[in-house]
Each structure stands twice: as structure tokens, then as C-alpha cells.
């Protein structure tokens, strides 16, 4: 009987302790996210950059809504800690689909939005939901497929011909999740005047890029992917780039501030600092170097200061 | 007076007591008294409301109307906590040894530690469960758990003790033994006691007083002998073991439990009038007893029954007016 009381008290004590431990998120259960899963990128550039005109230490937190492919590329795993070092701001990266990110911005559930679907973004900009937008970088989409290339698109330069060949002879895996990639894919079919619903061998996974590539790999079929994700994951797959370079395949990343006049809870200071950070020269240089050593080619091309027209999109 | 009954009068009284479950009236008792210090057998068929009455006396249920008084005080959970010991028909124990179960009961009654030990030993010895004290209370045999249940109730030495079928579930030898011991135990530990039973033998052996409850109503109450000798109606008589024979003119005759043998040729035979009860208008009665057609004829006239009555049966018939058996 005594033992039971003791056990109960211990349990309650633990309970109080636990809940208290869940309180702080700034010095949370793990110290710095020292990665074993993601190798740190170009560290040297960061230290050099740190010695110049320093943005003020603002501190605080902000929510960044972005896409899964952006997060999967690993770039944010480098940029976010760097930003925190410089400004003390803790960025909570919420990676959902393009549609959801934009909606989060519209509803004020995020402070900044980083997406890559200019056509969709336009609506929100026109609406005044997203303001102070800046081009950050671009990468491109590529169509990858099995080395055997049953649809014979390797080397083909024309978009319509390629899409036609895929409709007839390829298996094609679509993300089907309303993401930027998905929307780009639909654009491609449209440009070739093909209704994707009529393509028999096309399947939609409804999932992120990594998972979709997985399926394409399993089925030895084709899919549209951003180069970044593919480069990051290609070692695990039996696929190669078979169509690239076409102007429609450009994937342009922009960052926006969620309009503080529409949503008073927006962390304006932090979000503006983040945007400034992304277009700052050192950061841009870093973006241009990201993963270059590892993959032999850069993942992204920094674009700060340019406009959409400049990129021919 | 028993050793366990201190000062106050601990009688139990029911006044205008009614208990309904939903629409159905389960108990309807205008007035009933269980005498102080006596053992009363509460008997009746299944479903007659005996357990309900016990639950009302122990404040486990609240009356729909009327009240129950112990020693003039209305029954409340608080009063019950101090004054009532109730042994359920199906013994229930908590996890632990028999001794710890008894100890728990005494602790809940605020009996100081030193006294608890002696009381446990005393009750255990009296009920013959001393060797069982350290056994897991939930692993006892039927007879053992009945005795442990009883010991727990008796150890409380409460002014009011309620026993619900204390001999239920015992095999014949166990029953015999406990039936033999119980009167002494009650005298030693209990004061005012109500024993619910459906067995005539138990009622006869254990109780001084008897209350017959049928269909939620008290049919008879009083001394054991009195109730047995004078059941007020056919239902009660049947319940007490009488054989009921309807008469030609719409009445009934009840014949007390006994066995009569009509030897070949020994027909008709006669019965003493004590064994025959007149419960209605009749001159002649006939019916079937144990498959045998009998007729009872009573001499014509009004008023008292003659001292002897003829019972006719076919030659060689054996008439059993059952003694003992179910109440």
C-alpha cells in the first residue's frame, strides 16, 4: 500500500517534469541540429561571410511556409542555421505543398512564403496577401526515366514531341498533389496539347518528390522532377535525366512576406530579415555553390535582383 | 441478553415503506418491526423483495416512500457505517489475504490496531477459518468463502447484522456443520439479526422470529411457531410447506407438512385437526397429492372444525404431505 502511494507520487512528479520539459522550444531536447543525416554544405563561405556587415541580432521566431521539394533539396538545412547565427531568429520551416503554402500565407498562418510557382503566386500577389516578393533562385525541372528509355526521348529537343512520345510509350508517374512540380507537369501536357487524363500509363501518387521518384524507380517509368531533388537522391535510383534545358522547365523560386496589414500577428521584422538574408550577396553565393562539390553541378542558380522576364519565363 | 448488545434499543422498524423500480412496486410494507436482540428469519420465494429490503435497511437503496429506522433513527449511510454489518449472498473480497480483508473491514470501522488483531482471531476461530487467514481471499472454495464472509460480518460486532443466505452454496456436510454452529455464533457476536433464507430448516433452527414476504408484501410476522401454525392465506401456507387442496365450494384446505401412509385397506384414515387448516369455506375437498387423488370431507355444520377429519384415498395409496423441502 505504501509502495503504491510512492509509485503514484513518482509518476505525478515525472508528469510535472515532462510537461515542463515540453515548454521551451528554444533550447529543446536536442542541442544544435548537428546532422549525421545531412552533410553540412560549404562551411568555409559561411564563416567568411559572417565577418562583414552584420544584420542585427533580432531573435524571436517565424514560420516559413515552403514546399516539400524545397526542403528535400537540403538547402534550407544550411540556410536556416546560418540565418539563426546571424540574426538569432528561429525559423520554423513548414513544408507542405505549393497550394497549401500559399494558402497559409493568405490565412496568416505563416510569416513568409517560399515557393516556386509564379503563375499561382500571381493571384496572391494581386490579392495583396503576399507582398515584398523577391526572386531568390531558380533551378530547372528535368524529365528522368529508365536508362533503357522505352519512349526514346533521349536527346529530343522539342517539348511537344517528347510529351507525345511519353503519352504513347512511357509509363509516367505524376505527383498529382497540386504542388509546383505537379502544376509544371500539367503545363507541359498542355503545351503539347495532350489531356493528361487520356494518358493511360500515367499514375498520380499524391505525394512528395522523393516518394514519387521512388515509385518511378520501382516501376522503371518516367517522371518530372526538379533537378535539385533528383541530384540529391539519384544514387538511390536507377533513373537518369533524359530531357532538359527547355525554357518551360525553368523553376523559379520567390520569397514573400505575408501582408502584415491583413494579419496583425505576422512577425514582420523576422520575415523581412529572412527575405533580406535570402537575397544578400553572401547567401546568394552560397546558394550558387550548394552541392556543387558533391554533384559536380550546382543545384540552384541565384537570381536576386532579376525579374521573371529576365529569365525568359 | 447477548454479549454484544450495548445500551440502546436496536430494533429495526419499517414505516409506510415503499420501493418501486420504474413503474413496478417492489416492496409495500406499511409497518414492520424486527425486534431488538432477536434473530429473525426473513423468508419468501425468489423475487419477493427480501434482498431489496436488506438493501433498504443498509442504505444501499433509498425508499420511494416511507422510511426505515434503526433504534428510532432514520437509516443513512452514516448510520449504517456505524451500526450495520451485512454479509452478501455472494461473498466479495478485495485483493489480499483473508486476514487483510477482515482487517480492512475493521479498519473502515475505526477499530484500533491492537483490538483488530484480537477480533480477527476471535471471529476466525469461531467460524473455523483460522487456517485460512493467510490464504488469498479470492481463491477460497464455496464453503470457505461463506465462512470468511460470515467471519467478516461477525467480527464487526455490529448492533444490526444482516445475513443473506449464509448457507448458500455449501455442500451437505458443510451446511450441516454451519447450521449447527450458527446459532451459537449469532449469540456470541450479533445482536439484532436478520437472516434471509429460503430453507425451512434454516429458518426453524436459526430464528426466533419469522417474517414471510411474498410479492413485496408482508404476509406474516411474529414468532416462528406462531407463523407456522397460522398462515394467513393460501400463498403463505403453500410457501411454508403446506399442501393446498382446493375445496368443492371454492375454498382451500391446507395440510401441514407430514407424511401419512394409508396401508392397504386402511381407508379412510383420519388426521388430527392441528394438521389441517381451514382457510376458507369448505365442506369437502379433493385434489391430487403426488399424483394420488384424495378427498377430504368435513362434517357438515358451521363454526369450529371437529377434532378429527377423514381423508379418503384409494386403497394402498401412500399420502405424503411433504415435510421439509423448499419454502
Amino acid at each position: 500500500m505504501r509502495a503504491k502511494t510512492l509509485a503514484l507520487l513518482t509518476l505525478i512528479a515525472f508528469g510535472v517534469l515532462f510537461f515542463a520539459a515540453c515548454g521551451d522550444d528554444d533550447d529543446s531536447g536536442g542541442a544544435a541540429a548537428s546532422a549525421s543525416n545531412t552533410p553540412p554544405a560549404v562551411a568555409t563561405t559561411a564563416t567568411d561571410a559572417a565577418s562583414e556587415t552584420r544584420p542585427a541580432q533580432i531573435g524571436g521566431e517565424m514560420i516559413l511556409a515552403t514546399t516539400t521539394s524545397t526542403q528535400d533539396s537540403g538547402l534550407l538545412d544550411v540556410l536556416v542555421p546560418m540565418f539563426k547565427d546571424q540574426t538569432g531568429v528561429n525559423v520554423k520551416v513548414i513544408a507542405v505543398g505549393t497550394g497549401a503554402s500559399l494558402e497559409m500565407g493568405a490565412k496568416g498562418d505563416a510569416d513568409a512564403v517560399l515557393v516556386h510557382a509564379p503563375a499561382s503566386e500571381k493571384k496572391y500577389v494581386d490579392n495583396g496577401d503576399l507582398v515584398e516578393g523577391q526572386l531568390v533562385m531558380h533551378n530547372d525541372f528535368v524529365i528522368v526515366g529508365p536508362s533503357a528509355d522505352p519512349a526514346g526521348i533521349r536527346g529530343e529537343k522539342d517539348l511537344a514531341t517528347t510529351m507525345q512520345a511519353l503519352a504513347e510509350a512511357g509509363g509516367f508517374i505524376s505527383r498529382g498533389d497540386d504542388s509546383g512540380t505537379h502544376k509544371k507537369e500539367l503545363e507541359l501536357w498542355k503545351a503539347a496539347d495532350i489531356d493528361p487524363a487520356t494518358v493511360n500509363a500515367r499514375e498520380e501518387t499524391g505525394q512528395g518528390m522523393g516518394a514519387t521518384l521512388n515509385v518511378a524507380n520501382q516501376r522503371q517509368a518516367y517522371t518530372l522532377t526538379d533537378r535539385g531533388t533528383f541530384l540529391a537522391l539519384r544514387d538511390g535510383f536507377d533513373l537518369e535525366v533524359l530531357f532538359e534545358g527547355e525554357k518551360t522547365l525553368l523553376n523559379v523560386y520567390s520569397v514573400y512576406l505575408v501582408n502584415p496589414e491583413k494579419h496583425s500577428a505576422v512577425k514582420v521584422e523576422q520575415a523581412r530579415a529572412w527575405i533580406a538574408f535570402l537575397v544578400a550577396p553572401e547567401t546568394q553565393a552560397l546558394i550558387g555553390d550548394f552541392k556543387k562539390a558533391e554533384y559536380g553541378e550546382p543545384l540552384f542558380t541565384p537570381d536576386a535582383g532579376k525579374s521573371l522576364e529576365d529569365l525568359g519565363s | 441478553m447477548g454479549a454484544a448488545a450495548p445500551g440502546p434499543v436496536n430494533d429495526i422498524r419499517c414505516e409506510q415503506l415503499r420501493f418501486a423500480r420504474g413503474r413496478q412496486l417492489v416492496l409495500d410494507i406499511p409497518a414492520l418491526r424486527f425486534a431488538q436482540g432477536r434473530v429473525t428469519a426473513l423468508v419468501g420465494p425468489n423475487g419477493s423483495g427480501k434482498s431489496t429490503l436488506l438493501r433498504l435497511i443498509s442504505a444501499l437503496e433509498r425508499p420511494t416512500a416511507g422510511r426505515v429506522l434503526i433504534d428510532g433513527n432514520a437509516v443513512t449511510p452514516k448510520l449504517v457505517r456505524e451500526a450495520v454489518a451485512y454479509a452478501f449472498q455472494a461473498p466479495v473480497f478485495v485483493t489480499g489475504s483473508v486476514a487483510s480483508n477482515l482487517d480492512l473491514a475493521l479498519r473502515l470501522r475505526h477499530v484500533p490496531a491492537a483490538e483488530r488483531e484480537s477480533r480477527i482471531r476471535e471471529a476466525a476461530a469461531a467460524c473455523g477459518i483460522e487456517p485460512l487467514l493467510h490464504r488469498d481471499a479470492r481463491r477460497l472454495s464455496g464453503g470457505e468463502s461463506q465462512r470468511a464472509n460470515l467471519a467478516r460480518a461477525l467480527a464487526l460486532r455490529a448492533p444490526v447484522t444482516l445475513l443473506d443466505e449464509p448457507l448458500a452454496g455449501l455442500d451437505a456436510p458443510g451446511r450441516r456443520q454451519l447450521l449447527h454452529d450458527l446459532p451459537r455464533l449469532l449469540r456470541q457476536f450479533a445482536s439484532t439479526t436478520i437472516v434471509v433464507t429460503h430453507d425451512r430448516d434454516e429458518a426453524l433452527r436459526l430464528a426466533d422470529e419469522m417474517v414471510v414476504l411474498i410479492g413485496g408484501r408482508v404476509r406474516a410476522a411474529g414468532s416462528r411457531a406462531g407463523v407456522f401454525a397460522r398462515p394467513p392465506d393460501a400463498a403463505t401456507a403453500r410457501f411454508l410447506g403446506y399442501t393446498i387442496i382446493p375445496t368443492k365450494d371454492g375454498g382451500v384446505v391446507a395440510i401441514a407438512p407430514r407424511v401419512l401412509r394409508a396401508a392397504p385397506g386402511d381407508v379412510p384414515f383420519v388426521m388430527d385437526v392441528e394438521d389441517v387448516l381451514d382457510l376458507g369455506i369448505r365442506r369437502e375437498a379433493w385434489g391430487t397429492i403426488a399424483g394420488v387423488q384424495v378427498s377430504v370431507s368435513l362434517p357438515p355444520g358451521e363454526g369450529e372444525l371437529p377434532p378429527r377429519i377423514e381423508v379418503s384415498a384409494p386403497t394402498g395409496a401412500v399420502l405424503r404431505f411433504e415435510a421439509g423441502g423448499e419454502l
Binding site: F14, C22, D25, S36, I94, D109, H263 | E82, V84
Partner: protein
């Protein structure tokens, strides 16, 4: 097949070398799910007890709610909590979204119906006469609660285990309200999703093994 074997090897390596991020994630998983279950226990066991024993108006309704709650998919619970805590929601100002506290809240709501339901069943399974016995003997309300809980302790323990099991293996709600933020709200289940979606099957496997191990340890 190759992938599984390779994953297994990587898993052992990560666990054996005490990989710090893995440990951090595992610890956080236990802390979050543990707190949620503990809270569910502190609220749920007395509630289950009251539902089993009490007679009050609306009891049938309450029992119905508990039963429904048990069948609600965790991801739906997560969605509801997300809608409540997100900035544009009613409790947005509390800035709880994407924090461990939010995950504890969601997991608490997921495990609570299980704890209540199983506790109610455990108490109801006790002999009917037990509460009567305790009442007549004179046990006060608190004493009765203690004794009955003691009698039903095995069933109550099962309730808590069921509650814990339901949240430690849950991914939908944790993902939605926690955001799977590295170093902050990433737990074993959400980490598995991340690794899988990145094609890092070996890492996912390691996390999966660790998750299974953690669950078994806690149950014991």
C-alpha cells in the same frame, strides 16, 4: 530485399555509435508521448471511473462520446487541433502551433478516449457487489476510489498502455501540429516519414527499429 538488409546494417551502426541526432529524436519522442499519456492518465482514469460508477444525467451520452472518440482516426484529431492552434484559428495567439506542447495536446486528445474507455470497462468488470460492500463497511468516497482502482489496476494499466501505444506510433497528427521541425518537434514517426520521402531508406529503417524498441521498453 537489399534495401532492408542495408537498412538494418545502417540502423545498427547509427544506434551503436549513439548518433546524437537519433538520440535526441528518440528522447523527444518519449518525452512528448510520455507526457501526453501521463496527462491522459491523470484525466482519463478518474473520468473512466466516474463513468463506470456514476449515475448522472448525460452519462449515456458521455459513454457514446468516448466510444466515438476511440474510433476517430488520429490524423483527424491532429487536423482539428491544427485548426484550433494555427494562427488564423481561435487559439492562434497562444503561439502553440508547431511546438512540442501542441503535439502533447494532440496526443493527449488521441489517447484520452482510449484511457477512459478501457478504464470504464475495467471498473465495470469488477464484481457488482464490491462498491456496495465498501459502502456498507464505511469507506468514504476517496477510499472507495482507491480500493476500486486497486482492484481494477490491471485493467487500468492496460488502458494506459493502450493510450501510450496509440500515440507513440502515430504520425499524422504529430506531423500536422508539430511540423516535424528538426531539433524541435521531430519525433521518430515523423522522422521516418522525412527519411522515406527523401529516399533515405536506411535511415528510415534505423528510426523504425528504434521506435519499435522504445515502444517495447515503455510497455514493460
Amino acid at each position: 530485399m537489399e534495401a532492408i538488409w542495408e537498412g538494418f546494417r545502417e540502423a545498427i551502426r547509427l544506434i551503436a555509435t549513439g548518433d546524437p541526432e537519433l538520440r535526441e529524436i528518440a528522447l523527444r519522442t518519449v518525452v512528448v508521448s510520455g507526457s501526453a499519456t501521463l496527462l491522459a492518465m491523470m484525466v482519463g482514469v478518474p473520468t473512466g471511473y466516474a463513468l463506470a460508477r456514476g449515475r448522472f444525467p448525460g452519462r449515456t451520452l458521455a459513454l457514446g462520446v468516448v466510444n466515438t472518440g476511440m474510433g476517430v482516426p488520429p490524423v483527424v484529431a491532429g487536423l482539428v487541433v491544427w485548426l484550433l492552434l494555427v494562427r488564423s484559428g481561435p487559439f492562434g495567439e497562444m503561439e502553440l502551433i508547431y511546438t512540442k506542447r501542441a503535439m502533447v495536446i494532440a496526443q493527449f486528445l488521441i489517447s484520452l478516449p482510449l484511457v477512459v474507455g478501457f478504464t470504464t470497462a475495467a471498473v465495470q468488470a469488477l464484481p457488482r457487489e464490491l462498491p456496495d460492500l465498501l459502502a456498507v463497511l464505511g469507506a468514504g468516497r476517496l477510499r472507495t476510489l482507491w480500493l476500486i482502482a486497486r482492484e481494477a489496476q490491471i485493467g487500468i494499466l492496460a488502458a494506459v498502455i493502450a493510450g501510450f501505444g496509440s500515440v507513440i506510433s502515430e504520425v499524422g497528427a504529430s506531423m500536422t501540429v508539430g511540423g516535424n521541425l528538426r531539433g524541435e518537434t521531430r519525433v521518430l514517426t515523423t522522422a521516418i516519414v522525412t527519411e522515406t520521402s527523401r529516399g533515405q531508406n536506411a535511415n528510415a529503417m534505423a528510426l523504425g527499429l528504434l521506435l519499435t524498441w522504445v515502444q517495447q521498453r515503455r510497455v514493460r
